[in-house]
Symmetry: D2
Subunit: 160 residues, 4 copies
């Protein structure tokens, strides 16, 4: 069963190194005090379309106090999944939360994806009110368990 | 969106007035300190079989620290849903949490069902560590939201 | 992939030896000329409730020219799944096609179940317009494949 | 309920005017004698991904005697759904049947899409053994009904 890292042993979530935002521009620093869910995806990844992004959309709709962000962590097929294609994808699939494009620096995996040590897509990340990374998971997360983790993080007090 | 009643305005969950337990006998008093989920059902109720009981089974499996209980609140077709039939049903459907039979006193609705003012089945009830009733819902509860409520209740401190 | 027995090598479907019908009384002899789907079930069998009977209900609704019948082939828990219980079950689960109760003669498996050599429930049987048994399957039948078999049987000419 | 056009009142399926094939090149003329299912889709159309293409994949897998073809009928977002993007899409989503790219002639809708008078995507087309168009449907087709239509078409004799 997926579980939160204990608050005491978590480390600060790395900065989102993003070259372009769709929807409103944002940052983890700005969201300090809120629970944040980040869905790392690629627009032509079947698991992202069939379960990762739909789950992020449900969280976005059901929990107005949780900041949901998409992170487009392209590590293959860059030539056909650039910003113009991503924009169409977000419109067609009705993604209404902010989505940032992870920065490339010449390596296969983009910068933020490496900073979070992600193994692939879709990956789901949870950041607590204090800005610490409490959960990272590649693949499907059962709804009950994601709900329980969000419920627990929302119940934690905001940092002073 | 279903929500918990605030801890401050909740009242104590009524006693489970049960004539017979399947699985181990229990009571809310014994479970004080734990989060409790009660699934009120009837064995020949389609919604109970298709979503209410399966959800209770998932919670039972995923959250070992949550006490899941079934309450057989028969208000129709008593003649074919008595304890012998219920025992077969629980075996066939693999219900491994304790199930109590709500007591009848001659009125249409059984006693505990009336005490909780339930309108039908399946109904899902959540009781906090202090023994207060924090949630009552007739019909389906989305998994994300049930998870969030369980996460929140589990995050509350146990009473002294 | 489940397949129809070729028309040439099929044998006549055994008589339905039924002690009581719910809905209108019927027989395979009366239905000669029509494609018939028989769903053999027990009312407290989880697979029957979760996929066997719902599929039979869909076929009943979608193919007015196919005769859908239920056969209650009880081979365990007779004491709590008698006709009174079955009647409640059929009402509660909205089973609108005729359902016959397979006759018991003291052996574990009832008479018609043995005549069809069924191994358990749910079992799906298809009988062609000439009254021959063309398909017997224990467990889930994919919708596409059931549809294809029904389409093929419906396309066969009625016997003279 | 979706239904086949009667064989007697159907007209010949228009030629597939395709600029490029992925998988093996084919044509309706070559497939005369076989039942053909054509799935008209766009690679960034949510309904195509969630139900249209998966259904075509199931038919392709379950009915080796049915020729399944994809037709990429792009009428919006051409700039990001060209052949290079489509190739990646087909690889990532495991589409193993032949897919042709509908030809554009300057109008909004591509040529084959107009010849078939399609209203949008996903659209499912069925062509009989004689090369006649027997079914056109925009949107989801229930599995049972698609199966029944395929069963009926497969039961028809091949033309002399």
């Amino acid at each position: 069963m997926p579980r939160l890292t204990a608050a005491g042993s978590a480390y600060p979530a790395p900065m989102l190194d993003v070259t372009q935002w769709f929807g409103s521009e944002t940052s983890l620093a700005q969201l300090r005090g809120q629970v944040v869910m980040i869905e790392a995806f690629q627009m032509l990844c079947p698991g992202c379309i069939s379960y990762g992004l739909p789950q992020a959309q449900r969280v976005h709709k059901l929990f107005p106090d949780v900041a949901v962000l998409g992170l487009h962590t392209v590590f293959e097929h860059h030539e056909v999944t650039g910003p113009a294609a991503l924009k169409v994808f977000l419109d067609e699939f009705g993604i209404f939360f902010p989505v940032g494009v992870d920065r490339h620096d010449g390596q296969r995996m983009p910068v933020t994806m490496r900073a979070y040590e992600l193994q692939g897509t879709p990956s789901t990340l949870l950041v607590d009110r204090a800005g610490n990374l409490r959960f990272t998971h590649l693949g499907a997360v059962p709804e009950l368990e994601l709900g329980a983790m969000l419920g627990e993080l929302r119940a934690e007090p905001a940092p002073a």
